[in-house]
Structures are given as structure tokens and as C-alpha cells.
Assembly symmetry: C2
Homo-oligomer: 142 residues x 2
């Protein structure tokens, strides 16, 4: 979730023992990718547990491209990607809360209209439970 | 966002100077309410800045009911409400990251089917930008 506007900071929570946490501790950097619902199959594959050191990206042919500011690559074709430097992390129960400083944000130009995300085109992925997901539709407030 | 399963912990981020942060610091407790899109007008009213001590709830006739485990009341008619005790807070840029331990969770029975949220009935509120909001629709993964 977004946590700070200036400086731009985002928060994620990662379960202890997961490769995500190991990788962030090791690198001090990460990329937060926001996939579209058209990438749902790949998202689910990437969430599968492979032995540490074995890349889910290679295993499932998930395309990446080089990041500009950090070592980890970013995923291709996402709605947006945020290249982050680790700001701090702190334990919260069975997860670690991880705060990243956004060094560079990538957004797909075709999904923006007048500087605002066109949410009916940018169909993000929301997880409900097990194999049930959801994607948002725009609602204009009065 | 949810951060821990056992113990159940949630995270929110609150801007410095906002009443939410002042209230949580003072009480050590808070309620995280999840409104439906049918409550959008009230959600927007409640987000308006009134002088500290002046209640947005009273001002805009937002109905509440007593919480079971904490002093702050919970909102009526929400999809769910989480009564929380402050676990810890830590500065992150211009916001405070606040971790709450869920002491009691309320959910509307009619929105659950086989223990899973019926997302097409439970139309949550997502904020996109300014007066633009969104609400999710279910997508079943392969």
C-alpha cells in the first residue's frame, strides 16, 4: 500500500521464510510490480513455492526487463512497476512489514488520461480467497 | 492492509496532523471499518476536515454502534469492522505506519458464502483519485 507522498514510500508485508523477504534482506532493493488481470495466470504461477534460488520467472517464462535504478529486474507488461530501495523493516506477527522508497515509477502511458489512472482499462488484480480474484470497475462519486 | 494471520494484525497509514493519528495515540485503540460502495457519499463526508474534537460522525449523521472490545464505536452497515488494539507505530516519511491487533472482527453474514466473501455482493470502496472511485467484480482463476 502507499504510505508516504513526500518522500514516496510504499509498504508490503512478507511472510517469514518466503523468498521475497530473503531477497529483499540480501539486496536492500526490490521492484513492486502491479500486474493486470490479463496476467492472472502468470501471477498465480509466480506465487508457487519453488526451492530457494530457483527462479519462478524462468520456470514460467515470465518476461522481465532491466530496472533503471535497482538490480532486480521489473516485469514486462505490468500496469506499473516501482523500483524501490529498502527504507526499513519491522516484525509484525508472522509477517515482516517492509517499507520501500520509490526511486523510479514506471506506468503504461496508454492507461493514463489527464494524469489519472483509467481504472476501467487498468484492470488490476485483487485477491479475494484461494482461486477467487476480483478486478475494479469505476464509480464516479457525486 | 492485512499483515499477519496469527496473531491477526492489520496495517494502516495515517498522515501527520490528521485526527485519526491523534485519536489512536490517545486511545491506543481504533476500529477499522470497511464500507460498501452504497456508503460512498458518507465515506466522502467523513473524510472532510473538521476542527479537532468536532465529530464527523455527528456532523453527517453517520450511524454507529458500540464496540465489544474497544472504546471507539464501529460504523453501522459496513461490510466488516475490525476492533483493534494498537500494536506498534513507526514513522514512514510524511505518514505513520500503524499496526493494530484485531481483537474482534465483525462481518455481515449475508455477504459470506461457504466462508468466503461474496465479492459481487460485498462491493468495497477503492479510491482511484479525487472524486473517482472503483468497486471490484469477481474473476475466477483457471
Amino acid at each position: 500500500m502507499p504510505v508516504s507522498i513526500d518522500p514516496p514510500l510504499v509498504a508490503i508485508a512478507s511472510q517469514f521464510g518466503h523468498d521475497t523477504l530473503k531477497n529483499i534482506k540480501e539486496n536492500g532493493e526490490f521492484v513492486l510490480n502491479v500486474p493486470g488481470i490479463d496476467m492472472l495466470t502468470k501471477v498465480r504461477q509466480a506465487g508457487k513455492k519453488l526451492p530457494y534460488g530457483k527462479s519462478e520467472l524462468k520456470e514460467f517464462n515470465i518476461e522481465t526487463e532491466e530496472s533503471d535504478e535497482v538490480k532486480p529486474p521489473r516485469l514486462k507488461n505490468c500496469i506499473s512497476s516501482f523500483e524501490c530501495k529498502l527504507e526499513w523493516m519491522k516484525e509484525a506477527g508472522d509477517h515482516m512489514v517492509i517499507i520501500g522508497r520509490v526511486l523510479k515509477a514506471h506506468v503504461r502511458d496508454d492507461l493514463y488520461k489527464d494524469g489519472i489512472l483509467d481504472i476501467d482499462k487498468a484492470k488490476t488484480v485483487l485477491h479475494v480467497s484461494r482461486s477467487i480474484f476480483a478486478t475494479p470497475n469505476k464509480v464516479e462519486a457525486e
